[in-house]
């Protein structure tokens, strides 16, 4: 076979690969949307679920999802950004950073069901007096540990891109290290950090396995962080599988549609931010 033929064939194969990837995606999304869109309407978005989710809407579940996501981020973001500041501004590569990095990487690799086991044993059972068992708080604490690695990594990258000259300028003007970090480094790194936060939202919104063991699964509107709740992903799973009748499946696909649209909006926002504020 001539070199040219090989080249042509390879090129064709790679185009096919690209095409396959898009085809697979369209297939999954198309299927879910096809089944789900007919059942998404205003009532579905604004009513509460009835008959175990097989009738009515998902309003409390949307609110729970937002509530849960906000709480998770509120817990994880300060820790993640703090860790990133420490790693980039306060230490040189050494034993301590090695330990921290190993911990972070190990955490990133832990399967979500193991986070679930841990969250169940620690937050739900051992810390019951504080978290009140299965609750938004238990779920959010579990979720926070899951997104920590992503937050640390993206924040670190963002902080690293801030030019050294900014810091030197600030320090030369007599600012303390902390002032420099707060007033110079963090504001410049903010877009990158926010992008990391948005990416973490994607993970939190899509998580199911760990939350089944920690969040409690209530369909009702949560009144406080000590109430049990369910996210859209959980609702989708529970309605499709625990109930399993035709109307329930319709509602499940409708929930999946809303979920995919949410993820799409989140991704688009992150991309838009990156394009407009980071370069």
């Amino acid at each position: 076979m001539s070199v040219k033929t090989t080249q042509k064939m390879a090129k064709a194969a790679l185009w096919t690969a690209g095409f396959c990837t898009v085809a697979v995606l369209s297939l999954v999304i198309g299927y879910v949307m096809f089944e789900g869109i007919p059942h998404v309407n205003w009532q579905f978005l604004t009513m509460k679920p009835k008959k175990m989710g097989s009738e009515g809407g998902i309003f409390p579940i949307i609110v729970s999802t937002i509530y849960f996501t906000a709480l998770t981020l509120a817990i994880a973001t300060p820790i993640g950004v703090g860790a990133a500041i420490y790693l980039t501004e306060y230490t040189r590569e050494g034993k301590i950073t090695k330990i921290i990095r190993f911990g972070t990487e190990a955490l990133a690799g832990i399967p979500s069901i193991v986070f679930g086991l841990f969250g169940f044993a620690f937050f739900v059972i051992a810390l019951e007096p504080i978290t009140r068992g299965w609750s938004l708080l238990s779920g959010a604490l579990t979720g926070a540990t899951m997104i920590l690695p992503t937050l640390i990594r993206t924040s670190e990258e963002a902080i690293k891109t801030v030019p050294v000259s900014y810091r030197e300028g600030s320090l030369a003007l007599g600012a303390t290290k902390w002032q420099t970090i707060c007033r110079v480094v963090l504001p410049s790194a903010l877009p990158g950090i926010v992008t990391g936060v948005i990416l973490s939202i994607g993970r939190v919104v899509g998580e199911t396995a760990a939350l089944m063991l920690t969040l409690g699964g209530s369909m009702r509107m949560p009144g406080s962080i000590f109430d049990s709740a369910r996210t859209m992903s959980m609702h989708l799973y529970l309605v499709a599988l625990e109930v399993g009748t035709k109307p329930a499946l319709d509602k499940a696909f409708a929930t999946a549609t809303v979920l995919i649209l949410t993820i799409f909006i989140i991704n688009t926002t992150a991309n838009w931010l990156m394009k407009h504020f980071i370069s």
């Binding site: 390879a10 194969a13 697979v24 820790i79 499940a252 999946a256």
Partner: protein
């Protein structure tokens, strides 16, 4: 308080947040071991790891079929997902016109963000159906009847292969893009075709990044839970064909945790220990390979 003490305090706070992930990993290990280890001690490590009988309500705890199942599903998923993923990455980095990239990249990102339950539903309703049709129409004479039910290593792997695509594509693409342009130019200037350049120059230069992509994809495949339990059949039996139904380690925990009691719960935590150890070993291997790749280049 003078500013020096303040600075010290800030530093301590930051140090603490940096150690949260280390503390968490120790807590996770600690709690899972605390809950699961007594059962392993009671059953015996060898019997637990290599036993093939899993009847937790009657006191038999052997997870060997699940260990095999996890590896089987992961390897087959990698065999399908990695070639497609790396090819797509090459396509995106080298061939795709900007217009196409603008469609494919967000598509890949969306693929990464879709909750695993959605993949599971897709697999349960569509993929399993197709596999079952193939098994019963074309392979009916060859396969055992219990391997003609759709639920199989194959269908779980197909779903997992789709799920690891984004990881493999993103990281491989980064690795390929980070190969210095001079390498490519030099190769092309010497008269090599584009394909030869990719095959002989770009891929070897990007190999450590691609390995990292594969390892991360593998981690995701081993850890995936919800989608797998919906399509794998969850039969506890040593698989001997890709058409055999299997149960994975993660699946074992997720399926039975809801109703388990007493030693059964501890057995599921013990399954968690095995999973934890596998992931830790995998991570260390990945770190080792990444280091080796860096020191070589």
């Amino acid at each position: 308080m003078n500013y020096k003490t303040k600075e010290k305090i800030y530093e301590k706070i930051l140090l603490t947040s940096a150690f949260v992930s280390v503390i968490t990993i120790i807590l996770i290990g600690g709690f899972v071991f605390k809950e699961g280890a007594p059962l392993i001690a009671k059953v015996g490590l060898v019997k637990f790891l290599f036993g093939t009988q899993w009847f937790p309500t009657s006191g038999e705890y052997g997870i060997f079929p699940m260990i095999l199942g996890t590896f089987a599903v992961t390897l087959v998923a990698l065999a399908m997902g990695v070639p497609l993923g790396v090819s797509t990455a090459i396509f995106l980095a080298e061939f795709a016109p900007p217009k196409v990239t603008r469609v494919v990249r967000p598509a890949v990102e969306l693929l990464a963000g879709i909750p695993s339950v959605v993949y599971g539903l897709f697999g349960m309703v569509i993929v399993n159906d197709i596999i079952m049709y193939v098994e019963r129409t074309y392979l009916a004479g060859i396969l055992k009847p219990e391997y003609q039910r759709g639920y199989s290593i194959l269908s779980a792997s197909i779903i997992l292969a789709i799920m690891i695509l984004p990881t493999v594509i993103n990281i491989s693409e980064d690795a390929i893009r980070s190969v210095p342009n001079e390498y490519k130019e030099a190769s092309l200037a010497l008269g090599a075709t584009e394909w030869q350049t990719i095959y002989k120059v770009l891929l070897p230069a990007a190999s450590s990044g691609i390995v990292a992509a594969v390892v991360l994809g593998m981690g995701r495949a081993i850890g995936e839970t919800m989608a797998v339990i919906m399509v794998a059949g969850n039969t506890v039996a040593v698989p001997d064909s890709i058409f055999a139904p299997v149960r994975t380690l993660t699946g074992n925990i997720a399926i039975e945790m809801g109703y388990a009691s007493g030693d059964h719960v501890r057995a599921l935590f013990a399954t968690g220990i095995v999973l934890f150890v596998i992931i830790m070993v995998l991570n260390s291997v990945a770190t080792f390979i990444a280091k080796k790749g860096v020191s070589r280049s």
